[in-house]
């Protein structure tokens, strides 16, 4: 029952924060958010699952199934549980939310209780997304994440916040609806072989080849159409080129803590769902269209990096680099090897931490300087040495320097992709080699931006006093850096449980 307790507590905490007076809201929300952190760490310490939650023989941890309603002969239940793929993301969600709340203390200066309440409300729904194992339950949480995000960008964002909020809302909602139709067609195509929307049932029936024809579409066409609909739906959330355009808008307008949540956790919903739905349920379609998917991944990596190279705004640079990093995740998924898919899952966590760190440190600099433009400042290292150091460390993590989480993740992904045989004649290696070129561009734009903003003589066209950031702004950065290094030095702390859950996914795909 610990998952229910976590979700329920977080919802209750959100309500409590809503009614707190504004001056107490930030501290109160942080205190309350520590409970989910402890809860998820407790889950981690007690974690005992083997296999994949969706596939035969997998054992789910902390599982609960309560029947809810019946529609057209299909059972819908409250069905939650975690396995090695979802648990790291649950931990990431709770930790990152707490840190994001602390990082919001400085920049959020009006309507605090609403802001922090919405952050907790979003956390509760994110926990639901990563633990729900029934399609409808999962979809409720999936869609409900949009509501707090809309307000968080729309009320506390930058000058073009209204445009960014509605664009985000409409884009991702449209994608979800198309995905919904694709998945429903799949379930109905299964006919009598499943009588519920429970993801394990659907996944196993699909894997067993029970898909029949459905109103004029034979099983094969249905499979491809449903795969395409779901892929599109999740790709918008990830996001991949060319459906990424909502992301930079949302990121630039969102306040820092919201950007942290957006890049750190929300984008992972897309890749997590791709893994759970497309790559777990319809592996044969993924393999068949592997060149197309790999091409999309590579284009996202290179194009995202090129866009980042062209930006002047530090935050936009970090935002576009997310498109790149998520491209690697898709490359790892399509490889269908233990290292590829495992590395992709690992990258979800690693990128969550690193992008969180980058956004937060850019935010800390912005709080002090009130500008994010690369051209407006230089020599920040003199005035804010600690923040600068952490920002550089984060950038190194992004570039994939060894002993950082980003290195481990990318190393796993590339290893897995080179081993992959999804494309005949080791064709994925060519895509991978092209994608690796992205690292060079990443290093290029990050080093260039760092060099111009952080080093050299101090210059800033404002009359503000520029000095070190307050402790509560710096501490979350330090915590994130510790996590990044810990995962880089000892990737095993997550990787072994990830591979446990990943092995069944790739099992039997390429025989």
């Amino acid at each position: 029952m610990i998952i229910e307790a976590l979700i329920a507590f977080t919802f209750a905490a959100a309500l409590v924060t809503f009614v707190l007076p504004d001056r107490l809201a930030g501290r109160g929300a942080f205190a309350l958010s520590l409970v989910p952190v402890l809860g998820s760490l407790y889950m981690w310490s007690q974690f005992d699952a083997s296999g994949n939650a969706l596939l035969q023989g997998g054992q789910t941890a902390f599982e609960t199934v309560i029947p809810w309603l019946q529609v057209a002969g299909y059972e819908i239940s409250w069905y939650v549980g975690v396995d090695g793929i979802s648990l790291p993301l649950v931990v990431l969600t709770t930790v990152l939310t707490s840190l994001a709340i602390v990082s919001a203390w400085t920049p959020i200066q009006h309507r605090q209780s609403q802001f922090f309440g919405l952050m907790l409300f979003m956390e509760a729904n994110l926990l639901g997304v990563f633990t729900a194992l029934d399609f409808f339950l999962w979809f409720i949480f999936w869609e409900a994440v949009l509501v707090p995000m809309y307000f968080l960008i729309g009320v506390w964002g930058g000058p073009r916040r209204k445009y960014a909020a509605i664009k985000f809302f409409v884009y991702t909602n449209a994608a979800s609806l198309i995905m919904f139709i694709g998945f429903m067609a799949l379930v109905l195509g299964l006919g009598d072989s499943t009588s519920s929307f429970a993801l394990p049932d659907v996944a196993q029936a699909l894997r067993a080849g029970d898909l029949g024809s459905f109103y004029g579409l034979d099983a094969n066409t249905l499979r491809v159409v449903a795969f395409a609909a779901m892929f599109f739906g999740f790709a918008v959330k990830v996001p991949v080129v060319p459906v990424h355009t909502w992301l930079p808008d949302a990121h630039v307008e969102a306040p820092t803590p919201v950007s942290v949540m957006l890049a750190g956790v929300l984008l992972k919903m897309g890749t997590y769902a791709l893994l759970r739905f497309n790559f777990t349920m319809l592996p044969e379609v993924a393999v068949e269209y592997a060149p197309v998917i790999a091409a999309i991944a590579v284009i996202s990596v290179i194009y995202g990096a090129m866009l980042a190279l062209a930006q002047q705004d530090l935050k936009r640079i970090v935002a576009y680099s997310s498109v790149s990093s998520m491209g690697y995740v898709i490359l790892g998924l399509v490889a269908y090897t233990a290292y590829g898919v495992g590395g992709a899952t690992f990258q979800m966590v690693a990128h969550g931490l690193i992008s969180g760190l980058m956004f937060m440190s850019v935010g800390v600099i912005y709080n002090t300087t009130h500008t994010r433009m690369v051209g407006d400042m230089s020599g920040m290292a003199d005035r804010m040495p600690v923040t600068t150091g952490i920002l550089i460390a984060g950038a190194f993590g992004y570039m994939g320097l060894p002993l950082m989480a980003g290195f481990a993740a990318e190393f796993f992904i590339f290893t897995g992709a080179f081993q992959s045989t999804v494309i005949a004649g080791n064709g994925l290696a060519i895509f991978t080699a092209a994608a690796m070129f992205g690292i060079v561009i990443v290093a290029g734009y990050l080093l260039f931006a760092m060099q111009r903003t952080l080093f050299g003589p101090f210059r800033l066209d404002t009359d503000y006093e520029v000095g070190p950031a307050p402790l509560h702004d710096t501490l979350p950065l330090a915590v994130l850096l510790i996590c990044i290094i810990a995962l880089g030095v000892a990737p095993e702390i997550f990787f072994s449980m990830i591979t446990d859950a990943v092995d069944p996914v790739i099992g039997g795909v390429l025989q």
Binding site: Q70, V71, V147, V170, M184, A185, Y215
Partner: protein, 512 residues
């Protein structure tokens, strides 16, 4: 179903013989009786402005009717094949009629509570309430109609009071004009419907649904006449449900009418139109036996797609919140039409999609009524009607704005509100019956609707107030009604199982 079973154990179904069968119509009688009682109160003291008494009596009457309906539904009266027919089969009481009566009566309860404040200081309050109740009894009768004659009579019984209610603000030009427009189009549609009914009668020689169906199945000669009749009957229902092509009155009438009346018309009256359309097309013109030439499913597919698309596109371009809601209510008529448009698979799947449509109308009864009542409250506060006038309203009335946010997101089909389930089940059932493209069009419309619904939310929460917002008094009744609707909209998500299960069960009996 467990809650229902428990209730069933406590009560016994209304059996033939004891008590008398006509008591099955008790919900209608209570509504009509309350209307008469209000007329009596009004004739004793013609100038009464005792809102508390009038609103109280009407609310109690509607609530009593709702309670009896719920009791009948729970105890299985007229259900599981034992429908009760009265007056030479002209009227039938079964699960479906009770389900729809539950929608009407819950809307009336909310509307009468809200009218308490809205009507303060107006004349002729007694007439207002009695007209609402008479219209509601007409609607309840529509849901029970089993003969084309009853359809016509009950439809007029609900329409005539509605015309007057729309024009209730007789010193307001908009209200009077709206009433006139509504009346003219209503009269035209009634004529079309009547002519359609007479054609069907000419072709089949009967007005009772089952006889019409039987005659149509064996009929070969007058297929053309019957087909024209069916088409014209569909036109009559398109008027009542505010569907294309008879939707022109809706935005004008909803905008001009007092907001509680708009709430009443766009929720209850629309549902009544669907109740009678569902029954007539499924029972009198059943797809299984109707001659090949009369393919009304195709007509409803076109109607559904055009209605939802037109309604949503028009709503997206409005600057006036009330008008936007009026067009969006046309869009929702399009969704509900999926219930008829996705028939043809046969078997239990038909009952499922019709049931999903009914469940959507049920949830819609709460969220749409709530939205219009919120507008009534804003009108009461004397704030304008455009999106800009709503700017920053949340700073003044956060609780009411939270309720309005619930309605908007629920209408857009976002969780965690009732509209999420009802809309997605509708799409799901459409897909199950093989109509992907209907679900896809619905989904696209849903995205568009999110755009304009969130404009209201944005205005209330995100924009800064453009002028001074002086709200004045806190209308108690309106607040209570809006909260009632909001709580209902939220609770209908976890509480959706009994609604959808009841709806699909009672819908399935139509196809039995």
């Amino acid at each position: 179903m467990t809650a229902l079973t428990a209730l069933t154990a406590l009560t016994t179904p209304l059996q033939a013989g004891q008590p008398p069968e006509w008591t099955a119509l008790a919900p209608v009688f209570i509504l009509a009786g309350t209307g008469l009682l209000l007329l009596l109160i009004d004739s004793i003291d013609p100038d009464t402005t005792d809102s508390a008494l009038l609103a109280g009596v009407s609310t109690l009457g509607a609530a009593a009717s709702l309670a009896v309906t719920a009791w009948y539904l729970a105890s299985g009266t007229g259900q599981t094949g034992g429908e009760i027919t009265l007056f030479a089969e002209a009227i039938v009481v079964d699960g479906m009629s009770l389900f729809f009566t539950a929608i009407f009566t819950s809307v009336v309860v909310m509307v009468t509570i809200a009218s308490y404040d809205y009507l303060l200081g107006h004349e002729n309050q007694g007439e207002f309430y009695s007209l609402v109740l008479f219209a509601a009894s007409g609607m309840a009768l529509m849901a029970s109609a089993n003969s084309l004659a009853t359809v016509l009579v009950s439809l007029e019984l609900s329409s005539l009071p509605s015309y007057v209610l729309v024009a209730y603000l007789k010193k307001n030009r908009g209200s009077v004009e709206a009433g006139l427009k509504y009346f003219l189009i209503g009269a035209l549609s009634a004529a079309v419907l009547t002519f359609g009914i007479s054609l069907v009668y000419a072709a089949t020689g009967s007005l009772i649904f089952s006889d019409v169906a039987e005659a149509l199945a064996g009929e070969g000669e007058l297929v053309g006449v019957a087909g024209l009749g069916v088409l014209m009957v569909a036109g009559g229902f398109a008027f009542k449900t505010a569907s294309v092509p008879f939707h022109f009155w809706a935005p004008e009438a909803y905008e001009g009418a007092p907001a509680p009346v708009s709430a009443f018309l766009s929720s209850a009256s629309k549902a009544a139109g669907f109740a009678v359309a569902f029954r007539v097309f499924v029972e009198a013109f059943p797809l299984a036996t109707i001659p090949e030439g009369i393919n009304w499913v195709l007509a409803f597919q076109i109607l559904a797609v055009v209605t939802m698309t037109l309604g949503n596109f028009a709503a997206a371009t409005q600057e006036n919140v009330k008008r936007m809601l009026a067009y969006s209510s046309i869009g929702h008529a399009g969704y509900a039409l999926i219930g008829l448009a996705a028939l043809s698979a046969g078997g239990s799947a038909n009952g499922n999609v019709l049931g999903a449509s009914m469940a959507h109308l049920f949830v819609y009864g709460f969220m749409n009524t709530g939205a219009f009542l919120f507008i009534a409250m804003v009108e009461r506060w004397g704030i304008g009607r455009t999106f800009e006038d709503y700017n920053g309203l949340a700073t003044q009335a956060p609780v009411a704005c939270l309720a309005m946010t619930v309605f908007m997101f629920s209408l857009a089909g976002l969780p965690p509100f009732g509209g999420f389930f009802s809309k997605y089940f509708l799409f799901f059932e459409a897909i199950e019956n093989g109509f992907w493209w209907l679900a896809a069009v619905g989904a696209l419309n849903s995205v568009l609707s999110l755009f304009y619904y969130s404009r209201v939310v944005r205005a209330m929460w995100i924009e800064d107030p453009s002028g001074s917002l002086e709200l004045g008094s806190q209308p108690v009744g309106l607040y209570a009604a809006v909260m009632l609707a909001a709580v209902g909209t939220v609770l209908l998500l976890p509480g959706f199982p009994p609604v959808i299960e009841t709806a699909q069960t009672v819908a399935a009996t139509l196809f039995a």
